[in-house]
């Protein structure tokens, strides 16, 4: 009995990590690609390494203040030439590209100025070797994040490139 318990305990991380790989890869396979302008900087995480912390530079419309609540909000993304519009919509609204802010782990920070809407922040883990170059590019000019929008509403950042 004790041996079986130990065997299960050893298999637990293998099974969980394996199942998570399958789940996340399936979400990415079905995802649609979005290219969203960003502004950001480059800090470091002791566990997961270097990352780019950035704010999505999309045009927000609707009741964005609602996104600051713990339950988050839904954003409906649409393209307007080079710009991306993000409209705050109700969970049951019809939308082709819906982003679940809470599931996507997008941070919502209050805007700085009067009438300024909230900032939607996220991060992208990058390699130690590419981080300095990305940091230089972020300071030099406009950048955009290439993100995959999974059917369940998760916006998964994939890479950052000059805009």
């Amino acid at each position: 009995m004790k041996r079986w318990g130990l065997l299960l305990a050893l298999l637990l991380p293998l099974v969980w990590l394996g199942a998570s790989i399958v789940r996340n890869q399936a979400a990415l396979d079905e995802a649609k690609e979005w290219r969203i302008p960003i502004a950001g900087y480059d800090p470091r995480d002791p566990l997961r390494g270097r990352y780019i912390q950035f704010a999505y530079a999309w045009d927000v419309t609707g009741a964005a203040a609602a996104c600051d609540r713990p339950e988050g909000c839904m954003l409906c993304l649409t393209r307007d030439e080079e710009r991306v519009r993000a409209e705050v919509v109700s969970p049951d609204a019809i939308c082709e590209a819906r982003v679940d802010v809470r599931q996507s782990r997008i941070g919502v920070r209050p805007g700085f100025g009067d009438g300024e809407g909230p900032q939607f922040t996220s991060r992208l883990f990058v390699s130690e070797t590419s981080a300095p170059e990305l940091e230089r590019q972020l300071q030099a000019g406009p950048m955009l994040v290439v993100a995959a929008l999974a059917p369940d509403g998760r916006l998964i950042n994939r890479r950052i490139e000059p805009g």
């Binding site: 050893l10 990590l17 996340n24 270097r50 992208l124």
Partner: protein, 380 residues
């Protein structure tokens, strides 16, 4: 509780020579004592060195993974990590079955480190953002059962204690502004030290060395947390904050009571130490955090009294139980706190001077009390 009882016979040879020279014991008795001590000796330094080496390997694994090698394909990295994890798990199974305890312990420690590495790699590949404590809580959930069911010595016991303390502590610190049910989650994090002691007393099927590490870590973390919490006496605690903290303390108080009940059934935690070690830290921290007060000289002095009361209670229990190392630590904590009492009275040269004189006088009184306890024990 080997570690908290005494540091071991570091200078026993020199002491024995002195005793023989002074005619307290004869050379034959000294020889017998040396043989006995040699048989009892435990290579604490060697174990500590091996543990430090394993910790360095574990940190190295995490840092190598955190470098996030973009020239290696994601599928290869994920596959290699899973294969390595499975290989180390299988090697642990083999070593444990063959009775190679220390090899098995090292491999289990490595297994736990690789689980953390796997979680970090996972986050990089699939861009799973979120606070770092979430990853550390997953580490506890995924590697904790293997450590609990497979660990046999202090090495893996301390690894489990570190897992149990790290993630919840960071979670509590990061979410402290959140109210509602988060307060109970923060309370659960505050209950981990007493919880570790409770598990060590409850889980008789675990190896003695593993349980010893849980108890030691629980005692050190509990007393350490209460000592840090006493600095809250030097800040404003509003009625709202005090009420929130009172809700948080429900969980640690409940777990401490359960641990006290479990300790009554066991002789592993001596009776004189049960209340000071299990109830004392919760009580001292609750007084500092769950009672509204302003930052004032009076509240700071109350904080000193509570701190000295806690450690004095621990010292009394340690003296009665014969835990000389814990007794010395408690007296040192009291001495240090009294020495810096002038910080509470700081305001002018006269106040600082008065505080130093008061602190010095109390230290002299403390050394006298220490002398009394030691001579009373020697005469008993």
């Amino acid at each position: 509780m080997e570690g908290l009882r005494h540091w071991g016979g570091m200078s026993i040879d020199r002491k024995l020579d002195d005793w023989v020279e002074a005619g307290v014991i004869d050379a034959a008795a000294a020889g017998r004592i040396r043989m006995f001590e040699a048989a009892q000796a435990r290579p604490v330094a060697r174990w500590a060195l091996a543990g430090l080496g394993m910790l360095a390997v574990a940190l190295g694994i995490v840092l190598v993974i955190s470098a996030n090698w973009d020239r290696i394909g994601d599928s290869f990295k994920l596959g290699a990590q899973l294969a390595l994890l499975a290989g180390v798990g299988a090697a642990f199974w083999w070593a444990r079955g063959g009775g190679r305890v220390w090899l098995a312990e090292g491999l289990l420690f490595l297994f736990a480190a690789l689980v953390l590495g796997g979680i970090a790699l996972h986050a990089q590949v699939f861009q799973l953002t979120g606070p770092i404590w979430e990853a550390l809580l997953w580490w506890l959930v995924l590697a904790g059962p293997a450590l609990l069911s497979g660990g046999e010595t202090r090495l893996t016991g301390l690894a489990f204690a570190a897992l149990a303390l790290l993630g919840p502590t960071l979670m509590a610190a990061d979410t402290v502004a959140a109210g509602g049910a988060w307060r109970l989650a923060q309370g659960a994090a505050m209950a981990v030290p007493a919880g570790l002691i409770a598990v060590s007393l409850l889980a008789g099927w675990l190896a003695p060395g593993f349980r010893l590490a849980l108890r030691e870590a629980g005692i050190v973390a509990g007393l350490g947390a209460a000592s840090i919490a006493h600095f809250a006496w030097a800040s404003n605690i509003t009625p709202v904050q005090a009420a929130d903290n009172a809700v948080r303390f429900v969980v640690p108080a409940g777990v401490a009571l359960v641990a006290i009940l479990l300790a009554r059934r066991s002789d592993e935690l001596p009776r004189p130490l049960r209340l000071p070690l299990l109830l004392g830290p919760v009580l001292a921290a609750a007084l500092a955090l769950a009672i509204p007060h302003a930052d004032h000289t009076a509240s700071r002095l109350i904080g000193v009294v509570v701190f000295v009361g806690l450690w004095g209670w621990v010292a009394q229990g340690a003296a009665a139980a014969g835990w000389s190392t814990l007794f010395a630590v408690a007296i040192a904590a009291i001495g240090l706190r009294i020495f810096i009492i002038y910080l509470e009275l700081f305001g002018s040269l006269a106040a600082t001077g008065g505080g130093l004189m008061l602190g010095g006088g109390l230290l002299v009184a403390l050394s006298w009390a220490w002398h009394r306890i030691v001579t009373r024990r020697a005469g008993a």
